[in-house]
Subunit: 415 residues, 2 copies
């Protein structure tokens, strides 16, 4: 019963975030996420849980497999927007470089290639801009369709830039908050340069993002990005200040994950659509893509914190659990081994408790079920793209394939 109630709470949690149902294809009730339906599907998986994650089958996997098969024919999603990404990176770099050197080196720290990887968020947003490049009735009627396209693209690039600035600002401030001494294998900025500069550099990026946002002069877009900023803060707050009960709650975990990771990419995806003058239906599909991609991304992140590049437990950095942050794999494991709960409640201040938790996690289906949940979200992201208005323009089709490909890469990434 406990297991059931936690799971249904988890799904209720996600359902309440989703103002628009997109996952109801072929007459199925999947998108409505009725607890009984969701539970039977997840329990269906649980009963066939293996060490690997090839035990999954059913409708959604089929959809997902279709996604992969389409995507595999397409080019590398990052290469489609490589030129624009490079321009964006240069703009961000020169923006910080025009400031005093001390601050420039501080803010540039996170803009270097290799630290932030492939600029995931700007890539998604630039691909989304092209994927939504379909005629809109009203703008054609006004005769403004063709002439505005360059200006529109430039405004959409600004959203990508604003989003990256907000993201990097949150990393800088999170480093102060977490008192982390490493982030992604490199000494964190506050460790290298002190809390003072990390706070200032983060504020500097946030302020520049606000200025650029204001210059777009679109109140709905301002509101979307302000919401994303607020969610980042709320998410951090939810992580910092939890009761024991909240730390054990899947609903709380998913809400925190939405706030900390998925809200920024989902609201910025929606902003891309809003700037293009798309209908509210299309804007919500863009939002749903971003939201589900973001959740899938974070769920896999949580798995990799335990497994690292290998499939073996304990090979990851274990930084979450060592900081007392409880993520999906452990929450699923508690359902199978209720005795793990009291270990979690002790807060992992004692390193021995980390080993005990890893022992239970290894015996459980926690890792597999987390991957499974990530796949569900990836499937929903694919469905959102497939529900976009039809187009036969090659750049629209190729960028939509690339967005679907990204959902695959999120699931299979190893770092």
């Amino acid at each position: 019963m406990l297991r059931r109630s936690i799971l249904s709470a988890a799904f209720r949690g996600r359902a309440t975030r989703r103002p628009f149902s997109i996952v109801a294809p072929r007459g199925a009730s999947v998108g409505k996420e009725r607890p009984s339906d969701s539970q039977s599907k997840v329990f269906g998986f649980r009963e066939t849980c293996f060490r690997g994650y090839n035990g999954f089958h059913g409708l959604r996997y089929q959809i997902y497999q279709d996604g992969i098969s389409i995507a595999e024919k397409g080019p590398d999603p990052f290469s489609l927007v490589a030129d624009e990404l490079s321009l964006l990176a240069n703009r961000l770099r020169s923006m910080v470089a025009t400031e005093v050197p001390k601050l420039a080196s501080a803010a540039e720290y996170f803009f270097k290639m290799g630290v932030e990887g492939k600029r995931f968020r700007p890539t998604v947003l630039l691909l989304m801009s092209s994927a939504l490049n379909v005629p809109i009735r009203e703008s054609i009627a006004d005769g403004v369709s063709g002439g505005l396209s360059n200006e529109l693209r430039s405004r959409q690039q600004s959203i990508a830039e604003i989003t990256e600035m907000i993201h990097v600002a949150s990393l800088l401030h999170d480093d102060v908050l977490d008192d982390a001494d490493t982030r992604r294998g490199i000494g964190s900025l506050n460790f290298v340069m002190g809390n003072k500069l990390a706070v200032l550099a983060g504020n500097f990026l946030l302020a520049r993002a606000c200025i650029l946002l204001a210059s777009l002069k679109n109140t709905e877009v301002v509101s979307l990005m302000a919401t994303a900023i607020e969610h980042l803060v709320t998410g951090e707050k939810m992580q910092m200040t939890t009761t024991s009960e909240q730390r054990r709650s899947m609903e709380y975990y998913l809400q925190k994950t939405y706030n900390k990771t998925a809200s920024l990419v989902s609201n910025s995806c929606k902003a891309i659509a809003v700037l293009a003058g798309q209908t509210s239906e299309v804007s919500m599909l863009a939002y749903e893509y971003g939201r589900n991609l973001g959740l899938a991304y974070q769920l896999i992140d949580d798995v990799l914190d335990f497994t690292g590049t290998s499939a073996a437990l304990g090979k990851g950095s274990l930084s979450d659990i060592r900081h007392g942050v409880v993520t999906a794999p452990i929450l699923f494991a508690i359902e199978e081994f209720p005795q793990l709960r009291e270990v979690v409640d002790r807060g992992f201040k004692n390193p021995a408790d980390v080993d005990i938790a890893l022992g239970y996690l290894g015996k459980s289906c926690g890792i597999e079920r987390t991957r499974e949940l990530a796949k569900e979200h990836a499937n929903r992201a694919v469905l959102a793209i497939e529900a976009l208005p039809a187009s036969d323009a090659e750049d629209v089709l190729s960028t939509r394939r690339a967005l679907i490909d990204l959902t695959h890469r999120v699931l299979t990434r190893t770092k």
Copy 2:
């Protein structure tokens, strides 16, 4: 020559910030701030420098005296908006109280009466709202004048609220930045509760301010407040990362002071006017009032850091100079005693250097000239109010008198 060049740079610095000349009454060229003109006026004062500050005479003082005589007939400016201030304080308090207790106590820390004193910024903004309550041609033509007044007032209250949130957020983050262990006699939040919570609480307030700002759906107002946020960051950056030359520059000091203190109150005053649909001329008068009041406030703050409640040097907290922050009194003293420059260049890491600097300051007119500069700005603030469109409505007149009274209180305050 050095003295002249520093002073002219100082005035050039202010002149470039001022897009609109309001200080050119009765055919005088004062408002244009030609270096030769400004210098002669300041040198005119220097030659009659006393320990007190009753050595000042001339046109501006006359204007200012008029200001005081008008103001002294009026009621306490704070009492005019006491009910609204109390509502605003309650809204801010309940906003933080709806969050988890840990964060609520963190953010509420700065909202308690006694810490933030009399809520200076919201008072200015609510008074400005009433002071600008004059008929506007366009809105009368549209027939929207009367019906909107309640809604307008509520939107102007939101600006007061947003401004206070931004201000408190900057205090919270400045405490982390400065690693200050005390602020206004009370242990700073980061000392009491840690950097983590101070950063988070500041971000929380900034995020809420962004959400409230977005809800006003006015792109010009968003832009004004985003500019104020950016200036706060730039000002903090200017203070943290200076060359020796910058630390000795009056121009740099005034620019930093505008960014750190005057920009928020000036841009929010302008936002009050913009929301009311006022002309750009009236909006700029509101901006000029806020800018000059803010500069006067900070200049007196810099004096009080040396004198405290008494007129005697060394009775203040000396927190600026002990943190190596060089303010107007010392900059003026350097002009009289160039040998003070090398003491300043050593950065006041050695407490003996603070005593040496105080010795030079005592022999100089630094304190008096700083008060004098504050008076000049207070006069300009008065002139901005006097230049507003005529009105015979009693509430308009009484709030204008209160705004003029505030400039007096800023000059005569002892804490």
